[in-house]
Symmetry: C2
Subunit: 288 residues, 2 copies
């Protein structure tokens, strides 16, 4: 990106009358297809009155005038009047509702309600509560803190310290409603010939995470600088021992070195075939 | 939905060559505009070979033939060849890459790379690590467990037991990279005339959550059935006392009764003006 560092940044606005999570998610996917270009993005949720919309158009146009590059707006406005106002701005408007709802209306033989933020509201209390329950469970079973209810878990993530167990479990619980426990493999465990006693009875639920020793050392270095714990030698030893354990006991595992939390969690679900709540806060999408 | 319960469900596929998070998020937002229609959705991530794509088209077409309703595919395939194969299915294809990338290419004077899953990969190590650090911090400071590093928090969520503090904090950390601690308001705290001693020094960081006493009683009932803790009377008392505390000490607060975790977290960020990492796992979107 050296060659573009002196160029002005392209301004991008993620807008919605609700949380703007959809606009942001779609927007990032689209912009990521242009890795050579530097963007400066801002998310503006809750644009839910015409007054706010007019003010925003003024802001977008003013900022656009300061900049030689046309701005980009990625907007999911359910309200048609607000949407029309946003379309008056001088930015390029990317509006998936405007583009795709007519096609859907045609094949569904129904009018869209153009109501705001349906997808991130609670409507199905049961699904919502199963997600909250999964979070509770995961919090209680982080880092081997409690192990007595391992039997109730959907999955038990195992791996050495700082291999990504906790964020993976939280994402599994928060996004997919999966009861994910985790257990840290200690040096003592590595010296044994068998699986650690605490998890031995749950072989079918185990899933291993591993990572590149260099990256592990870097992460540990930030926590405990210059320690034996963070040394490359120690990280190499632990990673090797953990991977041997996974191989020996047929524990499926994943090398997470270059993966984001989202990718790890999605991959874990795919490999294990666990039931994934696709979007817990929606009522009328029955996932069964 | 009684009138539609005997209708066959409309099948929807969320497809991607990577995590399918974008397809799912956009898809749910679109479908939520048709609350009268029953959908049956399935998410298929990692459609990353032409072979998998052909197999999938066969499956979609076979399932379509069994059903009198045309299926819907919401697909974000960065790979053009795989995308072309998916377009051969008999479903209605909603493809935001196909629709929006040409417009973006025009104004950006650049070709999109059509590479897979850029938006959920780690590329900016710094942003990624700040998100992991936020998760670590939040885990350590859940439910008042540790309070000595409250000074390092970005926000301290306060509220009575089961008012939604933990999921909100986790979402703030996981999605927005915000160091969110939380502190449960106890009965002892309520009887005092002052803010609880532990949080008194951090008034500027406090944010309250409150909820409808009936809903609180319902949630608590699931945990400790027929207890004083879960009684409506007790819930009414606690909610009232907590809200009085927020009012008295000018703690901004939110009634979360009908809100999802996503909505609460987005609203908290909006009200407090906290810096929100829009999508931590992207390199070339500099949020500064």
């Amino acid at each position: 990106m050296n060659d573009t560092s002196n160029q002005p940044l392209r301004r991008v606005y993620f807008l919605s009358n609700r949380t703007a999570i959809t606009a942001e998610t779609l927007g990032h996917s689209l912009l990521a297809q242009f890795p050579g270009i530097q963007f400066s993005s801002v998310t503006i949720p809750f644009v839910d009155t015409t007054q706010k919309a007019y003010k925003l158009v003024d802001r977008i146009n003013a900022e656009n005038a300061d900049n030689e590059l046309q701005s980009i707006v990625i907007s999911t406005m359910a309200d048609e009047e607000i949407s029309r106002i946003i379309h008056q701005s001088k930015a390029l408007i990317i509006d998936p509702f405007e583009r795709f709802l007519p096609d859907l209306e045609l094949i569904l033989h129904a009018h869209s309600i153009h109501e705001s933020g349906q997808s991130h509201r609670i409507s199905n209390q049961g699904l919502y509560e199963s997600r909250i329950n999964a979070i509770d469970f995961t919090m209680l079973h982080d880092d081997g803190m409690t192990t007595k209810m391992y039997g109730q878990s959907d999955i038990i993530i195992v791996g050495v310290s700082r291999s990504g167990k906790t964020p993976t479990c939280l994402y599994l619980a928060l996004q997919f409603g999966i009861k994910a426990a985790n257990y840290p493999i200690t040096e003592e465990d590595m010296e044994s010939e068998d699986l650690p006693a605490i998890i031995r009875g749950f072989k079918g639920k185990l899933f291993g995470l591993t990572t590149n020793p260099k990256r592990l050392a870097h992460i540990r270095e930030e926590r405990r600088s210059n320690s034996r714990y963070a040394s490359l030698e120690q990280c190499k030893y632990e990673v090797k021992a953990a991977e041997q354990m996974f191989e020996q006991f047929n524990v499926p595992y994943l090398n997470t070195t270059t993966m984001s939390i989202e990718e790890i969690a999605t991959k874990v679900v795919e490999i294990t075939g666990l039931h994934r709540i696709s979007k817990p806060a929606i009522s009328h999408l029955d996932m069964k």
